[in-house]
Symmetry: C2
Subunit: 455 residues, 2 copies
Amino acid sequence: MTQEEIKLALRGTLIHAPAAGDIEVLQDALIAVDNGGRVAAVSGPGQPDYGKLEHMAREAGKLEVLSAGEYLLPGLVDTHVHAPQWPQLGKALDRPLDEWLMNYTFPLEARYADTDFARRVYENLVHTLVANGTTTAMYYATIHLEASTRLAEICLEKGQRALVGKIAMDNPDQCPDYYRDASTGQGLDDTQNFIEQVQGMPGNSHGLVLPVVTPRFIPSCTDEMLQGLGEIATRTGCHVQTHCSEGDWEHAYVLERCGKTDTLSLDGFGLLTPQTVLAHCNFIDDDDMGVIKERETGISHCPLSNLYFSNAVFPAREALDRELQVGLGTDIAGGANPGILHNCEMAVTASRAREDGVNADLGATERGTPGARIDFREAFWMATAGGGEALGLKVGKFLKDYAFDAIVVDTSVADTNLIIWEEMDTGDDILQKIVYNAERRNITRVWVQGEQVKN
Amino acid sequence: MTQEEIKLALRGTLIHAPAAGDIEVLQDALIAVDNGGRVAAVSGPGQPDYGKLEHMAREAGKLEVLSAGEYLLPGLVDTHVHAPQWPQLGKALDRPLDEWLMNYTFPLEARYADTDFARRVYENLVHTLVANGTTTAMYYATIHLEASTRLAEICLEKGQRALVGKIAMDNPDQCPDYYRDASTGQGLDDTQNFIEQVQGMPGNSHGLVLPVVTPRFIPSCTDEMLQGLGEIATRTGCHVQTHCSEGDWEHAYVLERCGKTDTLSLDGFGLLTPQTVLAHCNFIDDDDMGVIKERETGISHCPLSNLYFSNAVFPAREALDRELQVGLGTDIAGGANPGILHNCEMAVTASRAREDGVNADLGATERGTPGARIDFREAFWMATAGGGEALGLKVGKFLKDYAFDAIVVDTSVADTNLIIWEEMDTGDDILQKIVYNAERRNITRVWVQGEQVKN
């Protein structure tokens, strides 16, 4: 590359997870970003191009050197966010799921017919997620075309990479009268219009914000809707998102109505593609995993939410062993925390609960699922590169041609619980401490596609 | 009370949990603190003494009015902290327990023979816990008399209410050569000396810092040591702390060695008193619960740590239903977070894991323990008043004659994830949001016994 082609170069300690379970700590490395916001080169001391690159970046006035205590990590990827539920975060978690949905969630989602309300909430949400280091987020909006488009515009304004879906839900048996698509045809038309509006947003020619075909989940959609959405997905090549085998009720409902599992049913509707992300998948079986792998479909693991509303925890160990594409999701507001790092911690914690079990009344051999644990390295991979794979986007790793989506974690920020003891913390200890104790305040800078979005 | 007797008065919204499951939100209330640092009066608008008290406090120049967005809560009580493990927080959680102990924890604890090292770590720890709103902490130090006394001094210097124990561990079968009491007699003498040193510390005449008789746990102590410690506890009336039925290995070891459960064995050694706190108790049975209730012994529930190293989760629901005295513990560093609010969230989360189960391969009816959930109200009670009861201290409630140990949570602090929507969040929503999303930064002021220790 030439001096003019450098948009930005950073020198410092880089930490990323190029593969599940594999952490690379690159000390005093240099990363150069091109004018398209992509990683142009990553080089370490002693490598042939290191001195030349550094010299060139310095000459161009584009070199930033990280301070002691600062670490450059890939930006965090949140593969499952219910944007309209943002005001509900941390509320009514003590209510049963049906009450939570019917008395809190659906009435709240219905309010987004009011686009001023939508703008107010969505600006707060996107700002908060970026501040927490979420450089890519996959959002469910509501059934409302206009408010859903607002969310896409706000992501673009704030520079967050986003995948946004207008929700489709038309089944009168399962959706309240006051909150469902006016008709199947209207829901499909709105989905098609939404896709065009997002793709045509001024300033979105590079596709920073992508539209997503979004059946809420099988129970809330008619077969006709699911079929129609499958056709739209095929025709447009757009991403797809939906919930899959989340809890006992849903899993049983789909088996009863469709005669097969969520996974196989969605596949039958043409909704399992390499651009699809299935949220939860707690009750998928071996055959389901096989189909998901074959279709190169992604999974969004939402560990905190699993422990509240899903009746079980996603088998993350088994999914990683089968090399599925698994990212992490906050599942706002079913998961009551906006941080993907917090969900990294929870992914490990939930896997430990699976491994050992939780019920002391059972004997040790009946209680758990031996070998079910994952560790912080695997959770961090899911939070970054795994999320990128699930979404089919080149984000989450410091590799040439990947988008430069990155965060600086500053362990020297005062008044936080992230405390490094220099003489005692070595190797990937620092990453483990970041996973367990970094706070929003420690995330001091955030870039998306080479543009700084938190300063 | 007279004007001269007022040390401090605050007017604003008070939230506390006077009983398990029962949250009181006192709007625009007035709380007056006497010169001894105790609550002298709590009054609400319309109550007879409200106007008089406010006038008197204002005249005395002692009235502070909380701003909009500020809430006064009881100080948080952490009933289980391994102080020397502080540098290990968030490290090696991926290692098996025996490796975690033998390769990390014991070598680290052995370093506290160096009192300079001890001072450096302990100052950082106590500062951090206070900053997180922990007004009372019950600490295990190490086997070292001098370093353990240092910890007590640091708590006193920083104004944190603390209960500190020099660890006793003398069983050569279970403790490494480099880290155990030189002999049973030495361990007992050091315990006795430690008690006297802490009680005699200059400035400690009111007993802000209390010594604790601390057998690490049955496996690491000989019967002679346990018997001797029981006698010291009886003679001095001091607090006692130890681990009880934490995991499968320990539970089985004690059954094998003593022929009865941890609880009954400790009782036999004279170690179950109203001043005793038993950490974990995950595997206690119905009879154990009965004895614990009869002895008025406290329990420290450490939910985050449970999910990593305990093979099961403490039956919090059952313990609350039996009206046991249960507080929360971080179990630093087995629990990788210094915040009691985080452990509030985890107490709810762990109870949900118990209720529904986590293993999707089991049928819904075999998977969980129906009715096992607790909610944020009960968790918050454990974090405050329950902890006070477990310790036998009048802390954790805004009631006359209780110590004024309190925190201000400021929901208006910028750049945090605690977001209140005024028109949507009512009643105890704000407390639930605090439990799930308050960060260290939101805790802007902390008082212990009427003295402000974080500003």
